[in-house]
C-alpha cells in the first residue's frame, strides 16, 4: 500500500507542490483575506471589532498625510528605477567585456553592500548625512567651500540621502542579474555583427539590449515593488518612523504608524489594501506593456 502511494505518479506532483501551496495559503492568502476584511472594521483594544463599512477608505481619501506618503513612495520608486536599471546594466556590460581586468574584484565589491544589514547601513548613513558641520557629507561640502546642509530636514536633500543609500546597496544586486543575463547571449552574435561592420555601440543597442529584455523586465518588476514597499531604509535614516514634515514617510511607514504605533489596525489594513492595489496596477500594466502576457509565437 505504502509502495503504491510512494510510486504513484498521480500523487507525487501534489506532494511536491504541497509545501509551497501550504505556505502560500497560510502566509499569503489568509493574511490577505483577513486584512481585507479588517479594512472594513474598527479594531479597538480589548473589544470586539466593529464593522464600519467603507469608513476607513473614506477617511483615507481625505487624509493629506496618506497622500504625502503615497507621493513619497512613488517618487522614490521612479527615481530608483532611473538610477538602478541603466547604471547596473552599463556596469554589467563593462565587467563582462573581454578587456576588463580585476573582474571578480569589481563584482564582489559592487555586491558587498547588499550583504550588510539595512539597519547597520541606515544608521551609518544617518550619521554621514548628519546636520553637524563635522558629519562626513558636510565635511566634504566644506572641503569645496560650501555651507553645511541639514540633509535630513529638507525634502530634496532627504531624497538624496535615500537614493544614495539605495544606489549603494542595490547596484551590485541588479548588476548580478544583468551579468547572468549577459552570459546567456551567445558570443557568435557579436562576432557576426562585427564581421558585418557593426560598431560597439550598435552591438549594444541591437544585440545586448533586446536580448537582455527578459532580465530587464524582471529587474523592473522587483524594483517597482521594492520602491513602493520601502520602509526600513527610511526608518533607519530618520531614526524612527517620524521624519520632519514627513519627508521620509512611505506607504508602509504610514501603515506601520497607524497600525502598530497608533494601534488603529482597521485603518492600517485599508492603507495596506491600497498599497497592494497600487503595486498591482503599476506592475501589471508594466508587464502587459512589455509583452509578458502575449502568447509567444514561434
Amino acid at each position: 500500500m505504502i509502495k503504491r502511494f510512494l510510486y504513484s505518479q498521480k500523487v507525487a506532483p501534489y506532494v511536491f507542490v504541497l509545501p509551497f501551496v501550504a505556505v502560500f495559503l497560510i502566509f499569503w492568502v489568509y493574511p490577505l483575506a483577513s486584512s481585507f476584511s479588517m479594512s472594513f472594521q474598527k479594531v479597538t483594544l480589548g473589544q470586539e471589532a466593529q464593522w464600519v463599512g467603507f469608513d476607513n477608505y473614506a477617511k483615507l481619501m481625505t487624509d493629506g498625510v496618506f497622500f504625502k506618503a503615497v507621493t513619497n513612495s512613488v517618487i522614490y520608486m521612479i527615481l530608483t528605477l532611473v538610477i538602478l536599471i541603466p547604471f547596473p546594466m552599463l556596469f554589467a556590460v563593462l565587467i563582462n567585456s573581454k578587456f576588463m581586468w580585476g573582474r571578480e574584484f569589481f563584482k564582489s565589491s559592487f555586491f558587498f553592500p547588499a550583504l550588510t544589514s539595512v539597519v547597520v547601513a541606515g544608521t551609518i548613513f544617518r550619521l554621514m548625512f548628519g546636520e553637524m558641520d563635522t558629519s562626513l557629507m558636510n565635511s566634504v561640502l566644506g572641503f569645496f567651500g560650501l555651507d553645511p546642509v541639514k540633509f535630513l530636514k529638507g525634502q530634496a536633500t532627504g531624497y538624496i540621502a535615500l537614493l544614495v543609500l539605495a544606489t549603494w546597496r542595490w547596484t551590485g544586486v541588479n548588476m548580478l542579474y544583468f551579468l547572468s543575463g549577459l552570459k546567456n547571449i551567445p558570443e557568435d552574435y557579436y562576432e557576426a555583427a562585427s564581421i558585418d561592420g557593426a560598431s560597439k555601440f550598435q552591438q549594444f543597442t541591437k544585440i545586448t539590449m533586446p536580448l537582455l529584455k527578459p532580465t530587464t523586465v524582471y529587474v523592473l518588476t522587483i524594483s517597482i515593488y521594492a520602491g513602493l514597499a520601502m520602509f526600513i531604509e527610511s526608518m533607519m535614516l530618520w531614526n524612527g518612523n517620524n521624519s520632519p514634515k514627513n519627508i521620509g514617510l512611505t506607504i508602509v511607514g504610514y501603515l506601520y504608524r497607524q497600525g502598530i504605533e497608533k494601534n488603529n489596525l482597521g485603518y492600517a489594513a485599508a492603507v495596506g489594501i491600497v498599497l497592494l492595489a497600487v503595486t498591482m496596477i503599476i506592475n501589471l500594466s508594466q508587464l502587459a506593456f512589455s509583452g509578458l502576457f502575449k502568447k509567444e509565437d514561434n
Binding site: M1, L45, M132, K150, I260, N263
Partner: protein, 444 residues
Amino acid sequence: MKKKWFIMFLVLAMATVLGACGGKSSSNAGGETSVLDGGAGENATELSYWTFVELHGQHFEKMLEKWNAEYPDRQIKLNVTVMPYDDMHNKLSIALQTGVGAPDISDIELGKFPDFLNGTPQLVELNDVIDPYRDTIVQSRIDLYSKDGKNYGVPTHVGASVAFYNTAILEEAGVDYKTIVTWEDFKKAGIQVYEKTGKYMGTADTSATWQLSQLLAQQGSDFTDENGNPTINTPEMEKAMSILKDLQDNNVIATIAGGQPDTEEAYGEFNAGNYATAFMPLWQMSRYTNYMSDLSGKIAIAPIPVIEEGMPRSVGGGGTGTVVTKTAKDIQLAKDFLAFAKLSEDANIEIWNTLGFDPVNMDVWNMEDVTHNPENQFVKYFANNPFDVLNDIKDEIKLIKSTSASPTINNILCTVTLNEVFEDGKDIKQALDDAQAQIEQELK
C-alpha cells in the same frame, strides 16, 4: 486507502511547516533579558518586566532585594527585558491586543499611555494598592495614568521642568543666570552671550514640546480643552511660539541637531559647549551625568524664565507609568510588589539615589540627608543642589493634561509644525491652523 495516506501526508507536511515557523516566532521578545533573583529562594514566583530604560531595571533590582527580605513567603524573581522605546511600546501594544505574550509588569511612557487606555484597557486597576500611599504622593501624577477614576499606572517622578545653565559660557559672556527672571531677561542675556562668545543661549526645539508645555503652563493654558479636545491654534499657543520665534530671530536660540536636548546628537552639541541652556524636566540630570561628563561642575539648575513675574515657573514633563497587565501570572503579587517598589518611602528615596528623578513623594524633597548627600553622583555633578530649586518652585508645578488626543497632537507638532516654523520660517498662525486641521482630521 490511498486517500487516507494522502491526508496523513498532508497533515504531516502542514505540521512541519507550522512547526518550523512556530519555532521562530516563539523566541523571546528581543532586547536584552536578565533575571534578577534579589536573594529569592527556590519557591519564588517569576515575574517578567519590560522597560525601555535600563536604569529602571537597576532601581527594581534594589527594591527587589528589600521585598524578598521583607516578605520571605512571597518572594519574586524578576525577569527584566530592556528594549528600545518604540519597539517596547509596539510589542506591548500587539501583545495586549492579541492577549498573548505580554509581560506581567511593564513600563509605558506618558506619550504612549493614552493609546493603551483606548477601548477597554487590558491593564489591571491599581486603586487598591495605591490607596495606602495616596496622601503622600502628588495626585496629578497618578491622574495622568487614569481613566474614569481608575488608576492604571504607577508614576515614577514629578518631572518638574527647570533650566540647566552652562555657567562656564555665561561667565565668559559676563552673564549671571540668577538675574534671569523673565523671557525678556533671557533674551537680553542671550544676545550678550551670542555677541561675546558666538554661542547660542538655548535651543529651538523641533522634535519635542517641552518648551511649549512650559510656556503654555505659564499662561494657564494647555494643548487640550477640559473635554480633551485639541486646542492648538489658541492665542496662548501663538504667544508661546512667537516668544520662541523672536528668540530664534535674535540668535538667542537655534535649532539643534537631533531636534531637542534629549537626543544623542544634542548631548554632543551640549557637551562641546555650543549651547548654554536647556529647559527640560528634572530627569535631564541623568543625561548630563551619563552623556555630558565634560560639563561636570559647570551646570547650574534654576527656575525657568516666565513671561511676566508671578506666573508659575514649572510644569511636570514626561513620565513613565508602570502597569500590571491583565494576563499577569499572579496579579495580586505583581500589584503589591509594584506599589512597594515605586510608592513606598524607601522606593521614593531610591528613585532619587539611583535614577536622579524628583520623587512623587514630596516629603523626600525635604529630607536633607537624602537630598544633600555629598556622595550622591547628581549632587556631585551639579553646581548647585537641585532640591534647593525644586523646593523653591514646589507649589508652582503645573500639569499639562494627557488625553486620548495627546499622542496625535504630539506627533503633528513634533514632525510637522515645529519644523515648519523654526526650520522654514512659516507663518506661526498659519502653521498652527494647519496643525489644528490635521489633528482634527486624524482624530476623526
